[in-house]
Structures are given as structure tokens and as C-alpha cells.
């Protein structure tokens, strides 16, 4: 097993740092249903970490635990070397964990620009009274953050729809706007819940490129859930495999691919 503090270097020469987030023996139950059973894994700084598994394996529940939406009955979440106390989702976001959703969760009535600006919530602190006057600090802060947001908009190539209300956009673009909103927060960990669900091959290629670029250019740590095996194996540095709430595999894509338990889970196994 790798050391906690030291990282490693990937085949393509990217440096992966120490552990930034660690899940320790997480168990999550809904009444009598055990969604996640005693799972532990870690996420290292700068890596792309995938969580895969068949339907109903508990992947999304895991992501919801990380983003503070579900509170596990047992186990601990360690973030940046500290045990995280029970937190509301917005407090988790303020710590620098941003996410996207499986079914897009954008603010439909607002323009693309406003949606992405909302992602800057962590960096904008002007009080209500200063903002009511819109002079000095309030205006300055708005302009400074707009500059960052425009960089993200450039990066994801959505300049042309800046002022369009999100409700009018097609699905693929909405997914991209949602990624932009998460990126605008300049998160330390970016959680992507099925970023390529429902996309055609071209859109998937675009999205994969954006994910790799984000990781490469900003060094953002990314944890993602995805069903498309080809995509997962190509993108990620390490993969966690879940099945029926249990962890059945963890390691590099190659290790996971040759893991018998994983093959059984995906292809089925003959019971005699």
C-alpha cells in the first residue's frame, strides 16, 4: 500500500500528492436497507479517482456522503488530515468540495453567467448592506470574480451562451454549464456524478477532454462515477469498485480489470 504522505508519479508523468480525503469504514443505512457497508478508500491530491459498480451498488450514496448530503451511521470522513465533524452540505461546499449531479441540477431561471457566478459563493463575502449600495468593495468583488468566471467559461467553450437562460439549453450544454459552475468554485476536490450519462460519443469525447484538461491545468483532484467502462479505464488513475454496498476492488485500472470479483460482479457468476 502507498504511504499516506508521499505521492507517486503516473505513467504520463503527472505528480500525485498525498491523501487529501479518506473514508474510513463508512456504513450507511436507510432503515433496514444497507446502502454502503464498511467501505474505506482514499483520494489523493491531483488524481482522478473513479467509483464504479453495477446499478444500485451505492456509488451515488457514496458521493452524497462525501458532499455531506447523507450522514453515515458508522465510519469517519477525514479531509485534509482532520476528521470531519457532522456538517450541513453548504458547509462542506465552503470547505472546497464542489460537485455535479447525475440529473442536472442547474438554476433554470438564471442565465448561464449567473449560474456559474453562483459557484463563486465561497470567494464572495460582501455583506448585504455593502451590496445594497453597489459601490466600492461590492462592485470590485463582483468584477474580480467575474474575471475568474470568464476564464472558466472560456475554458469550457460556452462563451456564446453566456447570457442565455439555462432552461433553454440542450442537455449536453447543460452538463457543461454544470461543470463550469463546479469549477468556478476552484474546488480542492471535484465530485462528478455520471458526467457522461446520456451523451453521444462526440459529447463524451468532449467531456473526457475537459475532465483531463481540468485535472492537468488546475491540478484539481477529481472523484467521478461513470458507467462507460472505456471512459473510466482511460481517464482514471485509480478505481474503486462497489457492488451491493461493498467494496470489491480498488487499484489501478489494469488491476481492477483483472480482478476476479469485479469480473464476476459485471459479467455475473454461475451459482451451482
Amino acid at each position: 500500500m502507498l504511504d499516506d504522505t508521499e505521492g507517486y508519479v503516473t505513467e504520463d508523468g503527472r505528480k500525485i500528492g498525498g491523501v487529501v480525503m479518506e473514508m474510513k469504514n463508512i456504513t450507511l443505512r436507510f432503515g433496514g436497507v444497507v446502502a454502503i457497508k464498511d467501505i474505506s478508500f482514499d483520494i489523493r491530491e491531483g488524481e482522478i479517482r473513479a467509483i464504479i459498480g453495477p446499478n444500485g451498488a451505492g456509488k451515488s450514496s457514496m458521493l452524497n456522503v462525501i458532499s455531506g448530503f447523507y450522514h453515515p451511521q458508522e465510519g469517519e470522513v477525514w479531509y485534509k488530515g482532520k476528521k470531519r465533524p457532522g456538517m450541513r452540505p453548504y458547509q462542506v461546499a465552503q470547505q472546497g468540495i464542489a460537485r455535479t449531479f447525475q440529473n442536472i441540477a442547474l438554476f433554470e431561471g438564471m442565465s448561464v453567467l449567473d449560474n456559474v457566478m453562483t459557484g463563486r459563493i465561497r470567494q464572495m463575502s460582501t455583506g448585504m448592506f455593502a451590496q445594497a449600495l453597489w459601490k466600492g468593495k461590492a462592485e470590485q468583488e463582483e468584477v474580480e470574480n467575474r474575471e475568474t468566471v470568464e476564464k472558466v467559461i472560456d475554458f469550457l467553450e460556452i462563451q456564446h451562451i453566456r447570457k442565455t437562460p439555462v432552461g433553454r439549453l440542450p442537455y449536453g450544454l447543460k452538463k457543461r454549464v454544470e461543470l463550469a459552475r463546479a469549477l468556478a468554485a476552484e474546488p480542492s476536490i471535484l465530485l462528478l456524478d455520471e458526467p457522461m450519462a446520456g451523451m453521444n460519443v462526440e459529447e463524451k469525447e468532449d467531456m473526457s477532454r475537459f475532465i483531463l484538461d481540468v485535472n492537468d491545468e488546475f491540478g484539481t483532484t477529481i472523484a467521478l462515477i461513470e458507467h462507460d467502462m472505456g471512459v473510466v479505464m482511460d481517464l482514471s488513475d485509480r478505481v474503486v469498485v462497489m457492488d451491493y454496498g461493498k467494496k470489491i476492488g480498488d487499484g489501478s485500472p489494469d488491476e481492477v480489470r483483472s480482478n476476479q470479483a469485479v469480473i464476476d460482479a459485471y459479467l455475473g457468476v454461475q451459482h451451482d
Binding site: Y90, A93, A105, G109, I121, T126, M128, Q131, W134, E139
Partner: protein
């Protein structure tokens, strides 16, 4: 062709996020301000002030306030009348307790007091949504009116149970009481309206407004990207009630002069202001103005036409007026659910290209 945005380039982000990004809009805004402040006060008479201008100004403030809560933050409220009553009774108590302080500050403090009451009645919004919240605010409406009726301390133990505004001055000119001239009352309300509109616009174009709209559009997603729902919802209740309190204070002190709470601030008032923002356009400051103008002017206009021009008896005209207003509201909601503000936006988009279709 005259009204267009082509060639009107923005070179800074500050210029792009200003209130009126199109130059001609900006010019129009300044012209309207100039006329409102420098021309109207000289030509206004008692009839125009009392039947058109004062109600329009005061209802516009209330509509802006309610629009922040319902249109921007998505929290339905039927307590507007009750909150206006809080503003009215607050300004009355302040006027009588501190007669030496300027009425200007009394009105602002009355707004502040209403904001506190609004936050208190906004607390249920953290647990309940939609129709259920509307019912909870309805409770606020009835409770507040009952409170002001039943506790004599609020109306200074007067025998009639009414509250009456005594004469108060700004720069030596009376703005409340029987001696008030039309132009002074008009200007006093206009100052509050312009300030309210500017503050509301500044709040809604920045992060505070984005938090409200995020809560409105999808509260769970808003919380996950870092919006504290408690603070966002309560701040919307506070700001909204602040404006509604100011409008209630002006409605009592400047416009009516004497008030019986159940009559002036009953449930009808809550619905009237709600209709204003629905007809004007939810989530739009301009819509608040348009809705207030529509519902203030329409009855006056109908009355003039029916009684003045056609010579019908007054009571028939009054009944028919209700029918017409009600019918228009329904037609409006079917034809343009996004209100007058949306019509205005569409008209502007067409004008930008005129005379070409594309």
C-alpha cells in the same frame, strides 16, 4: 432602428453588469427620473396625487418588497397586509413617542421593525414550502390584524381604535397631517420608492440575489454548492418585509392619514399586492412597477370611462369594474403568464431589430 444594442460595446465587466446595459434604456431612465423629480411636483394637483400617484408610488414599494420574496426567492407569502400594518403601527408609535425626530427616520425604523417581524414569521419557511408556507403566512396576516385591533397600546388607547397621523415636517414642509400639499407628499414617497428600487436592483444583481434565485430554482442544489438556506431565506424575508413595512408606513402616514387596521390592511391588501407582482412579472423590478401601475390605474380609468363618459350610475360602474378587473387578470394570466415585464422584454427584442424581421 433607433433602439438597438449593436455598436454599444462593453469594455469592462463593471459596465456589463450595470442596471441598464443598453445606452438608450439608460437615457430613458434619467429622463424619467428628471421628469418625476423636477416636472411632476410643479404640475401635480390633489386629485392626481391622491387617486393615482400616491397609491402607485406606495404600492410599487410594496410590490418590490413582495417580489423579492416571491419572485426572487420563491417563498409564497400572503402576509403582505399584515406586514404593511406592522409598518403603519410602528411609524405611528414612533411618531407619537418621539415627535422631535424627523418622520424620515421614523419611516426607515418602521421598515426595520417590520423586517424583524418578517424574519420571525419567515422561520416556518425553513421547514415548509409552497402552499403550506402560504397558509403559514396567512396566519401572520390574521394574527397581526387581530393584535393591532385587540391591544389598545398599539393605538394609544384612542376611543375609536383608529390611528391618526399628526402633522410632521421635513425641512419645515408638512408631509403628513391635513395641511400636507400634494407635491410634498408625492416627493416624500418618490424618494423612498427610488431608493427602494435602486437597493432592490443592487441586491438582486449581485451574490445576494443569486443566492435567493438559487433557492427559488432548486433549493437542494443551492445548498450543495454552498448557499446557507437559513440565511438566504431569512434575508429575503427581512429585505422584503423592510420594503413592505416602509410602504405600510407611507400608506398610513402620508396617504390615508387615519387607519382602521382591518379595513386598510386586511387580507384584500395581501391579494392585491400579490396580483400586482403576478401581473407585472415575478422576479422583475420593472414588473413590480408595471403591476402596481396596472392595478392602480385600471380602476381609475374604468371609473372615468364608465361614469364620466358613458354616464352610468356609480354603483353599477363599481360592480362592473370588479368584473372587468377580475376578467382581465384571468385573460392576462393565460395569455402571458410571465406578466407585463415579459411583454416589455419581447417588445424591446422586436424593437432592436425593427424594421427587419430577423
Amino acid at each position: 432602428m433607433i433602439y438597438r444594442e449593436a455598436g454599444d460595446f462593453k469594455t469592462s465587466y463593471a459596465a456589463d453588469s450595470q442596471t441598464f446595459p443598453i445606452r438608450l434604456d439608460r437615457l430613458g431612465y434619467y429622463v424619467i427620473l428628471l421628469v418625476a423629480f423636477l416636472v411632476v411636483p410643479f404640475v401635480v394637483n390633489d386629485y392626481w396625487a391622491n387617486s393615482v400617484l400616491l397609491p402607485f408610488l406606495i404600492y410599487s414599494i410594496a410590490a418590490i418588497g413582495l417580489n423579492i420574496l416571491v419572485g426572487y426567492c420563491g417563498q409564497v407569502s400572503l402576509g403582505t397586509g399584515g406586514f404593511m400594518a406592522v409598518g403603519a403601527y410602528a411609524v405611528y408609535k414612533l411618531m407619537t413617542a418621539f415627535p422631535d425626530v424627523s418622520i424620515f427616520f421614523h419611516v426607515i425604523i418602521a421598515g426595520g421593525i417590520t423586517a424583524c417581524v418578517g424574519v420571525l414569521f419567515g422561520l416556518p419557511s425553513l421547514r415548509i414550502k409552497g402552499f403550506y408556507l402560504a397558509v403559514a403566512t396567512l396566519a401572520a396576516q390574521f394574527f397581526l390584524v387581530w393584535l393591532f385591533n385587540r391591544v389598545p397600546w398599539f393605538y394609544n388607547y384612542s376611543a375609536s381604535g383608529q390611528i391618526t397621523a399628526h402633522e410632521r415636517t421635513v425641512f419645515g414642509i408638512p408631509v403628513t397631517g391635513p395641511e400636507t400639499s400634494a407635491w410634498a407628499a408625492y416627493l416624500f414617497c418618490l424618494v423612498f420608492l427610488v431608493a427602494s428600487a435602486i437597493i432592490a436592483r443592487n441586491l438582486t444583481r449581485g451574490m445576494v440575489g443569486r443566492k435567493w434565485m438559487a433557492i427559488r430554482d432548486m433549493d437542494i442544489a443551492a445548498e450543495i454548492i454552498g448557499v446557507d438556506p437559513l440565511r438566504a431565506k431569512l434575508s429575503a424575508f427581512a429585505v422584503s418585509s423592510f420594503f413592505i413595512g416602509i410602504s405600510g408606513a407611507l400608506f398610513f402616514a402620508v396617504y390615508l392619514g387615519a387607519v382602521e387596521v382591518g379595513e386598510a390592511f386586511g387580507i384584500n391588501k395581501s391579494f392585491l399586492v400579490l396580483f400586482m407582482i403576478i401581473i407585472g412579472g415575478l422576479g422583475s423590478i420593472f414588473g413590480s412597477f408595471a403591476g402596481a401601475a396596472f392595478l392602480v390605474l385600471l380602476p381609475v380609468f374604468l371609473k372615468n370611462v364608465l361614469v364620466g363618459t358613458l354616464g352610468w350610475p356609480t354603483d353599477t360602474a363599481a360592480h362592473l369594474e370588479l368584473v372587468i378587473v377580475g376578467g382581465l387578470i384571468i385573460i392576462f394570466l393565460i395569455a402571458e403568464p410571465h406578466g407585463l415585464a415579459q411583454l416589455w422584454r419581447l417588445a424591446k427584442e422586436k424593437l432592436r431589430l425593427w424594421p427587419f424581421p430577423y
